[in-house]
């Protein structure tokens, strides 16, 4: 009798193996170190890092699913990780091991009841992109429309549940010290689990297609409901190049700036006018075009924001809280909950850190001067802020996806080397009441 838990056990074992493998590598390096001269040690360290980076990527790739998602999230944090790891991790963004055609066909039939070649006029068996929870194929419908069909890997929900059970155990130390809260893990789990429901994703796409209509430079696909179900999602093809391919075409600085401004406008418009965020900012989800427009794809992870959270975030920009005690208390209640006193030193440290960051990069009297996002100073500032917030247990499940999207955006603009007048753009959308 084959035990269905086998796969769960194997995934957990793989996670630990990954950890143990890395620790083993470091230990061996530490033992050797005193005997090596400085130059050799440096070379060795580089080689070790490269080897480990590759190992991390290979193992994550094998696991598919949520752990790979975690890898993708990490790969967006270019500044916090070594360049070796980032390079390897970014390979995850588009290149999960695809389902072979037989598995893809079987999975399509399990989800849809018929084989792809019975449903479509033409269907490319090789995926054009493999995401963490599924893969995307080009197809032509019987009406002749060109579409992208996303097919989910089998039994993803179960894999996510068991990965998070493993994560809870692996993160026990961080949980005990209070640096990782169950409510935060739960929020991430909820977000990733939601990505397995393509019916919900179809609803998200339709919602954003309607609500983002005022932004003419944003293109959102159209869903074919009759060709979609819980694990298959069919939508119109969206033109544009992925960030890495786009950069290879050597875009002009003015085009970079234009796209950067468009990305910023998109972010703040969602935040202050829509009240919901496309919360998966990895570069593969933005298809950039030469006319400065952006195709937005993959709406699996959408975060609806509570009005008080949006108000709270707007305060980071307007900074009224610095001289209004009532607003300050309200912010602390929203972020830390009602049980934490606004006068606690760690709370003060967090808020001062946030204020210092915004004062430096988004000054209130900043005018229309664009922010040089290619400047390492900005990413350093962001890293410093992240360190203060994590160190002082700035934890709010409501902010998990908001800050993920924001730092993802900053990273995207950094890679794009765009110059964007962020302060001015924020003012366009910032709610007047603030």
């Amino acid at each position: 009798m084959v035990n269905p838990r086998n796969t769960a056990v194997r995934r957990t074992a793989r996670l630990f193996q990954l950890g143990a493998g890395l620790a083993g590598g470091y230990l061996a390096h530490q033992v050797q170190r005193p005997f090596l001269n400085a130059a050799v040690a440096n070379d060795k360290r580089q080689a070790l890092k490269r080897k480990q980076a590759r190992k991390v990527r290979e193992q994550l790739q094998d696991l598919r699913g949520p752990v790979m998602k975690l890898g993708q999230m990490l790969s967006m944090q270019t500044h916090f990780l070594g360049p070796e790891l980032v390079e390897e991790l970014s390979a995850l963004q588009m290149h999960a091991p695809p389902m072979h055609p037989s598995l893809m066909r079987a999975q399509f039939k399990a989800a849809f009841g018929r084989y792809p070649n019975e449903v479509f006029r033409a269907f490319a068996e090789e995926p054009f992109a493999a995401a963490s929870l599924g893969q995307v194929h080009w197809a032509v419908t019987k009406d002749g429309a060109e579409v992208a069909v996303k097919i989910q890997y089998p039994a993803m929900r179960e894999a996510i549940e068991s990965d998070f059970a493993a994560l809870r155990t692996a993160g026990l130390a961080a949980r005990l010290s209070g640096h990782l809260q169950d409510s935060v893990i739960e929020e991430v789990r909820r977000g990733i689990l939601e990505e397995t429901d393509y019916v919900k994703e179809a609803a998200h796409i339709e919602f954003f297609r309607k609500r983002l209509a005022p932004l003419p430079f944003i293109r959102v696909p159209r869903v074919s409901r009759e060709l979609s179900c819980e694990r298959v999602l069919t939508m119109s093809r969206v033109a544009g190049l992925r960030l890495q391919d786009f950069l290879q075409s050597n875009p002009s600085q003015s085009l970079r700036d234009k796209l950067g401004a468009a990305l910023c406008r998109l972010f703040f418009f969602q935040l202050f006018r829509v009240g919901a965020l496309h919360a998966d900012p990895h570069p593969g989800n933005y298809l950039l075009a030469e006319d400065g427009s952006i195709g937005l794809v993959d709406f699996g992870c959408v975060k609806r924001l509570k009005p008080e959270v949006v108000r709270c975030y707007a305060q980071f920009w307007s900074r009224e809280w610095a001289h209004d005690r009532k607003i300050y208390d309200e912010i602390i209640r929203v972020i830390f909950g009602s049980r934490v006193s606004p006068n606690e030193p760690r709370v003060r440290r967090c808020m001062n850190g946030i204020k210092a960051f915004y004062d430096e990069f988004h000054p209130l009297d900043g005018g229309t001067k664009p922010l040089e996002l290619a400047d390492a100073r900005f990413m350093d500032g962001l890293a410093k802020l992240a360190k203060i917030l994590i160190g002082n247990k700035f934890l709010s499940p409501e902010f998990v996806f908001l800050s993920r999207t924001e730092s993802g955006l900053c990273n995207l603009l950094h890679i794009l080397k765009a110059r964007v007048a962020t302060t001015q753009i924020v003012r366009e959308w910032l709610p007047k009441s603030n």
Binding site: P4, H100, P101, Q107, A110, A155
Partner: protein, 229 residues
């Protein structure tokens, strides 16, 4: 009833024309045709009432033959079940050999496709398969892996798998696994069927996931280790 008469007339005719090789072939064909019709009728009831609940009277009535004639072809319901699995094996091998793309695919995909095709064949008769599975555990049953009757199609299946593995050995996809590889795969398949029978996930996708991961994992293990029997 009419079709039953047809069969009889036809067999009478063949008897008249003598026993040349061609007519013997035709007789064999007619026999297969009738067997196929009986199986079809039997499966109809197996699907509705299971193996235990179905009577030979019902089967022969639906197939349009006399109950006595049914026994000429199949002594027991188990023999009928056995015939079903024989057909399944033949269908599988024919299907695989006609699929050009699959023959060039890597081993894990080939094996995945083989088992998936088998499960797909079994799918409409899940209850009946479950019952056969239990029966096959009794040593006296003709469905038992040890029974004389089941050897023929089992060997056919094992030879087919052996052939698949031998190609992979030649292509250096896996080290030499020999006969044991085919036996192990046969057991693996039975395990998968047991899992599949109990899988209540939608579209049985847990079985798909298990199959995919187990096969790629198994191939990786084979590739890493040294296996000589």
């Amino acid at each position: 009833m009419r079709s039953f008469n047809n069969v009889k007339t036809r067999s009478r005719k063949t008897r008249k024309t003598g026993s040349s090789r061609a007519s013997a072939g035709k007789r064999e064909q007619n026999k297969e045709h009738t067997k196929g019709r009986i199986l079809e009728a039997a499966l109809h009831f197996f699907r509705e009432k299971g193996l235990e609940g179905t009577t030979t009277r019902e089967i022969s009535k639906r197939a349009g033959i006399a109950e006595g004639t049914l026994f000429n072809y199949f002594k027991t319901k188990e023999d009928l079940a056995l015939y079903f699995f024989q057909k399944e094996t033949e269908d599988l091998i024919r299907w695989f050999r006609s699929n050009k793309r699959l023959q060039k695919a890597p081993l894990p995909e080939k094996l995945f496709a083989v088992i998936h095709r088998q499960l797909e064949y079994l799918e409409p008769y899940e209850d009946f398969i479950g019952a056969s599975f239990c029966r096959s555990l009794q040593p006296s049953s003709s469905l038992s892996p040890l029974s004389f009757e089941s050897q023929e199609f089992r060997l056919k299946y094992l030879r087919f798998i052996r052939e698949l593995l031998a190609t992979a050995e030649e292509n250096k996809e896996i080290p030499r696994v020999g006969e044991l590889g085919a036996y192990a795969f046969g057991l693996f398949y039975l395990g998968i069927v047991a899992h599949w029978l109990q899988d209540t996930s939608r579209g049985k996708q847990k079985t798909l996931a298990l199959l995919d991961r187990a096969l790629s994992f198994g191939t990786q293990v084979l590739q890493r280790g040294k296996w000589e029997w």
